[in-house]
């Protein structure tokens, strides 16, 4: 592939390089310590030790099967049923990876949006309101208000305000994904996890989604898994590069994209990998 100069370069570069955000003075809301994830006896994540800065967007990137999605889904214990998660997940000083944590209460604070838009087969209004109703918010005016603010925050209000009682399944992919974001933020989470939220969307919807995320970060801490390097570069403050179940590099996004310290990171983000 490359000439001898590259081999030299490769050996000259580091194997691993992690700069945690607190070293840059950001407050930390979520951190994993000594996190290991196993599928059966197969280890999928080896020590995912990362910290996530408040009101910042952190992107997790890496090739398929690198463990970035597994890691993300471990953060609000969506993997509980299929994987064993060991280690600590510190959410504002509390280890939420303890057996006696009420996962439902925890997931209200650590919400999640998925790769494929998955609006429920309900009206747009009910998609947002129904989780609230189940949690005892029943006053119509209150619900109306939350639906409107959530949709506004997700930059969808203007497009759907006249069709709130129509089925959410009729929305386009991009709109549906923003509805899913609205649905997630309606329960007022603290942290929002997004698992490749734009990979099923066309470029126009993707850029709208990115705009939405950039606005949302004022209120939420956002962690996003993405395949799209340009997307990570465009919207995130921090980027973690996963490979084969390990975090090989974690740093500010500009550092990762202009001057990564690990050769594999460099190869990956410049499309020179594999």
């Amino acid at each position: 592939m490359f000439m001898s100069s590259d081999v030299q370069r490769r050996t000259a570069m580091q194997e691993r390089h992690v700069t945690q955000p607190h070293e840059a003075g950001h407050p930390i809301v979520l951190a994993t310590e000594d996190l290991h994830v196993y599928y059966g006896s197969k280890e999928a994540i080896f020590e995912g030790d990362l910290q996530f800065a408040q009101n910042q967007i952190t992107a997790l990137i890496g090739p398929s099967g690198s463990g970035k999605s597994t890691y993300l889904r471990s953060l609000n214990r969506m993997n509980d049923r299929i994987a064993t998660v060991k280690g600590r997940i510190m959410y504002r000083g509390v280890d939420i990876n303890q057996p006696d944590i009420d996962v439902y209460e925890m997931r209200r604070r650590v919400g999640m949006v998925f790769q494929r838009p998955n609006p429920f087969a309900k009206s747009i209004y009910d998609n947002i309101a129904f989780a609230l109703r189940l949690r005892g918010v029943t006053a119509k005016t209150k619900l109306d208000e939350i639906v409107e603010t959530s949709l506004r925050q997700a930059a969808l209000w203007e497009q759907v305000k006249d069709d709130l009682d129509k089925s959410a399944l009729a929305l386009s992919g991009g709109q549906a994904q923003r509805l899913c974001i609205a649905r997630a933020i309606a329960v007022k989470p603290d942290i929002l996890l997004l698992d490749e939220p734009a990979s099923a969307l066309d470029p126009v919807s993707t850029s709208q989604l990115e705009d939405t995320l950039l606005k949302l970060k004022q209120h939420y801490t956002i962690i996003i898994v993405t395949h799209n390097m340009q997307q990570a570069a465009r919207i995130s403050e921090y980027t973690a590069f996963f490979n084969q179940g390990r975090v090989l590099e974690y740093d500010t996004t500009s550092q990762i994209f202009t001057n990564p310290q690990v050769q594999v990171t460099s190869d990956y983000v410049s499309g020179n990998f594999g």
């Binding site: 925890m106 189940l134 329960v187």
Partner: protein, 294 residues
């Protein structure tokens, strides 16, 4: 061109097969309806059956059939729903689950007469419920559960797993997710399974002969107190359904018009199933619309 000729021939054959099947099916339905519909009259639909004279009707049997259907579905549907939910949503995919699943499915090909006899010995005799609609409903439940459970489980399988994750990620419990998100979305396909099993229940005879019984004492249609023996609503009374009636008059009937009554009753049965299908579909569509604003 060879491939093209082959294509034409094959497609033509398929048209032929489909046409033939439609023909067979329509001929069957036609046979039932043509021989049965002329017997139908208001009297036939409402009058009680006669044991050995002409001019009996199927009024009581028709009512019994529906009553039994409703009771059986009321009992079996929640159980089937619950266990399908457990099997698909909660149970881990291991050998225990698989064994339970296999056990349920082998029940479905057991001849219904065996189920009937079991119901007879267990409900009618052991639990002293006597020949009664309730015994029949339980027996039909036994007969119905495997298929219904299987079809509901299949319906749950058709719903995108992403919907479940969506619910969980909002901090909902699995149970809330299943009851509020998955089930409403699965209504149309659950309904298809429901209709199919209702049809089978409606047409089942062998399991009922030994449980709900094969005599239809006269009912007092003015008495709706379910504790009265002659009340149509009393679940403890013996009841002969339409299918059992057809079976009975064909095997032991000594009334002179047995043949006409049997054809008429068959036609009524087919029409009732048809109407039931249509009604269930219509209601299901409305329900789905209400639940999902589709």
């Amino acid at each position: 061109m060879n491939a093209k000729r082959q294509n034409k021939v094959a497609i033509g054959t398929l048209y032929g097969i489909a046409g033939l099947v439609v023909l067979i099916l329509l001929a069957l339905l036609g046979y039932i309806l043509v021989s049965g519909v002329p017997q139908l009259s208001w009297h036939f639909l409402t009058a009680p059956a006669k044991a050995f004279t002409k001019g009996g009707g199927v009024g009581i049997q028709l009512f019994n059939s529906f009553y039994l259907l409703i009771l059986a579905m009321l009992i079996s549907f929640p159980i089937a729903l619950g266990s399908a939910i457990y099997l698909y949503e909660y149970a881990k995919d291991n050998w225990v689950t698989n064994t339970v699943r296999t056990a349920i499915e082998i029940l479905s090909s057991l001849p219904s007469v065996v189920v009937g006899l079991f119901g007879f010995l267990f409900f009618v005799v052991k639990l002293n419920m006597g020949f009664s609609i309730l015994s029949g409903a339980f027996a039909l439940t036994f007969f119905n559960l495997p298929l219904l459970t299987r079809s509901i489980e299949d319906s749950l399988r058709t719903i995108d797993p992403q919907q479940r994750e969506g619910g969980l990620a909002l901090g909902l419990s699995r149970w809330e997710t299943i009851t509020r998100v998955i089930l409403p979305a699965a209504v149309p396909s659950i309904l298809t399974g429901f209709i199919l099993s209702a049809g089978r229940v409606f047409g089942e005879a062998a399991a009922l002969i030994y449980t709900a019984g094969q005599s239809a004492p006269a009912l007092n249609f003015a008495d709706w107190n379910p504790f009265n023996i002659s009340s149509p609503l009393n679940p403890m009374r013996p009841a002969e359904t339409l299918a059992v009636h057809i079976w009975k008059i064909n095997s032991e009937g000594i009334m002179p018009d047995a043949k006409a009554i049997s054809s008429g009753a068959s036609a009524v049965l087919v029409i009732a199933i048809l109407l039931f299908n249509l009604a269930a579909r219509y209601l299901g569509k409305r329900l789905y619309k209400r639940l999902t604003s589709a």
